[in-house]
């Protein structure tokens, strides 16, 4: 009883269009969640370093609360826990407009925002204090120092770990299938159900994730090179 591969299941029938739909959903959910994560990450990463304690405390609470609970739990929280808190009308509207998609987007974005925040904080803290002091001495307010000096430098420093974090976000979007989002992993399982060809379907999923992630990593490497500040970031080779 040797396993006989039958790769044609991947392009015969509906498999191809399922994979494509799954890919589109995965990209949509990851893209939106990424924007949310970066926005939350920049704000809370910056807040964790400001010289005012209550703000730091709020940001610390956000980071520790959201990154220390498993993503799966957050998925259930946003899908099952949040809607009952909304007024009836809003809830009905949401259920009618792909509630599972938005719940998964929030879960991914808020969770990865907390992790992104730590990446950004480490970037900010790697900048010598003298930069901050020099900027203040120029007459800038604290907000201006962050907006014009600290954050722009920090964002350039953290491209490699932020890329890693973004790739994690993309791959973690597969957890959304637990709340019935028909993303890429869901679709590979769908193919398995219809064709009983588990290995072929999983291989297709693997290859798509791999190509996607390697593609993003390549683009980010170019971004890193393009925005590097001469003299500040030394490149090997």
């Amino acid at each position: 009883m040797r396993y006989e591969f039958k790769w044609s299941v991947l392009w015969s029938g509906q498999s191809g269009s399922w994979l494509l739909q799954g890919l589109v959903t995965t990209l949509a959910i990851s893209g939106l969640a990424w924007l949310l994560a970066v926005a939350l990450g920049i704000v809370s990463g910056a807040l964790r370093t400001v010289p005012w304690k209550p703000l730091r405390a709020v940001a610390t609470f956000y980071v520790e609360f959201f990154r220390n609970v498993p993503l799966l739990v957050w998925m259930f929280f946003w899908y099952f826990g949040v809607p009952p808190l909304l007024p009836q009308v809003a809830r009905e509207w949401l259920f009618d407009h792909a509630a599972e998609f938005w719940a998964a987007m929030c879960a991914l974005g808020v969770y990865h925002g907390a992790r992104m925040s730590e990446v950004i904080r480490s970037g900010i803290q790697s900048i010598p204090r003298t930069q901050f002091e020099a900027a203040v001495a120029m007459g800038l307010t604290t907000f201006q120092v962050y907006r014009l000096v600290i954050v722009p430098i920090a964002l350039r420093l953290i491209v490699p770990p932020a890329t890693s974090e973004s790739l994690n976000l993309l791959k973690n979007s597969s957890v959304a299938l637990t709340i019935s989002v028909a993303e890429l992993t869901f679709q590979t399982r769908q193919i398995e159900t219809y064709t009983a060809r588990a290995i072929e379907a999983l291989t297709a999923g693997t290859v798509i994730y791999l190509v996607l992630c390697v593609g993003i990593a390549t683009v980010m490497a170019r971004v890193e090179r393009h925005f590097a500040i001469p003299g500040l970031i030394t490149r090997g080779g």
Binding site: F95, E100, T178, T193, A198, L202
Partner: protein, 287 residues
């Protein structure tokens, strides 16, 4: 997570099937005769067919059928007592477990289908059910004819989801990997109905905190005949299993067990319809 488990099982199955050919020559009855053990693959959480109860015993209707109908028939055929051993088998693992000789008989909630008959053989049909819908008591949904445009939950990989996708493409199907999540979505209103095999819905309803808040509606929109699966091309063993089931139906033992699990005081009350009773009896061929 389930994906990873599936891969591990498949790899395990592949490894076993490479090692298996030497054993494969032996028929199942010869194997049972040599070891004195009939190994069945069954479920741990599919009440009332096969599940672990509060006393931590592995019981259920399918298991009773094996122990009280199939086992005596095999014992008579071999002329000696045998033991029944149970192993967990889930939908993705049951066929590999069978072909790898890890189990001899699947006795759980497996639907007999033509596609599956390409890889395994089935016994007589020992239970008949079909897909229905679980809805709130006040719901207007009456069956597959009234789900167009509605949000319907299903279990991923089920035949029910497949049929809805083909017959009512406008229904908004949401597939969950497991039953608890789907039921949670139903009770909170994320979905309007949940579809699964009727008997499973009755089981779910019986176990819900307030069973009267729910109702099972609709005619069967799929046909799910449960059978016991075994390795292909082993007609002596298949015949022994079938003789056991036929005798149980003939002697009334089957109906006694049915009443124990599906009767008014059973785990999931599910009255046996006159058609199904006739169908079961007509499967019994003369002595």
């Amino acid at each position: 997570m389930r994906g990873v488990r599936t891969v591990l099982f498949l790899m395990f199955g592949l490894a076993l099937s490479v090692a298996a050919p030497a054993l494969a020559q032996q028929s199942t009855l010869e194997k049972i005769n040599a070891t004195g053990v009939l190994t069945i693959g069954t479920r741990t959480a599919s009440p009332p067919f096969a599940f672990v109860n509060k006393q931590n015993e592995w019981v259920g209707f399918s298991i009773d059928l094996v122990e009280q109908a199939v086992k005596p028939a095999i014992e008579r055929k071999l002329g000696k007592p045998i033991k029944v051993e149970k192993k967990e088998s889930t939908p993705p693992t049951r066929i590999p477990l069978l072909t790898a000789n890890a189990v001899d008989l699947i006795a759980g909630t497996m639907t007999d289908t033509r596609a599956r008959r390409e890889s395994v053989d089935f016994s007589l049909t020992f239970f008949v059910t079909g897909a229905q819908f679980l809805v709130k008591r006040t719901s207007a949904i009456k069956g597959i004819e009234s789900i167009a445009g509605r949000r319907v939950a299903a279990q991923q990989g089920s035949t029910n989801a497949k049929i809805i996708r083909e017959r009512v493409p406008t229904a908004r199907l949401q597939e969950f990997p497991d039953q608890p999540a789907a039921f949670q979505a139903l009770s909170q209103g994320q979905v309007d109905a949940y579809t699964n095999d009727g008997i499973q819905l009755y089981g779910l309803r019986a176990k819900a905190p307030r069973p009267n808040d729910w109702k099972v509606v609709g005619d069967f929109f799929s046909y799910e005949p449960y059978g016991m699966a075994m390795r292909k091309n082993d007609s002596d063993f298949r015949h022994a299993v079938n003789v056991g089931l036929m005798e149980a139906i003939e002697s009334g033992k089957y109906f006694e067990l049915y009443d124990k699990w599906f009767g008014p005081n059973g785990e999931a009350p599910y009255p046996l319809t006159p058609e199904n009773r006739r169908f079961l009896i007509m499967q019994v061929v003369p002595k």
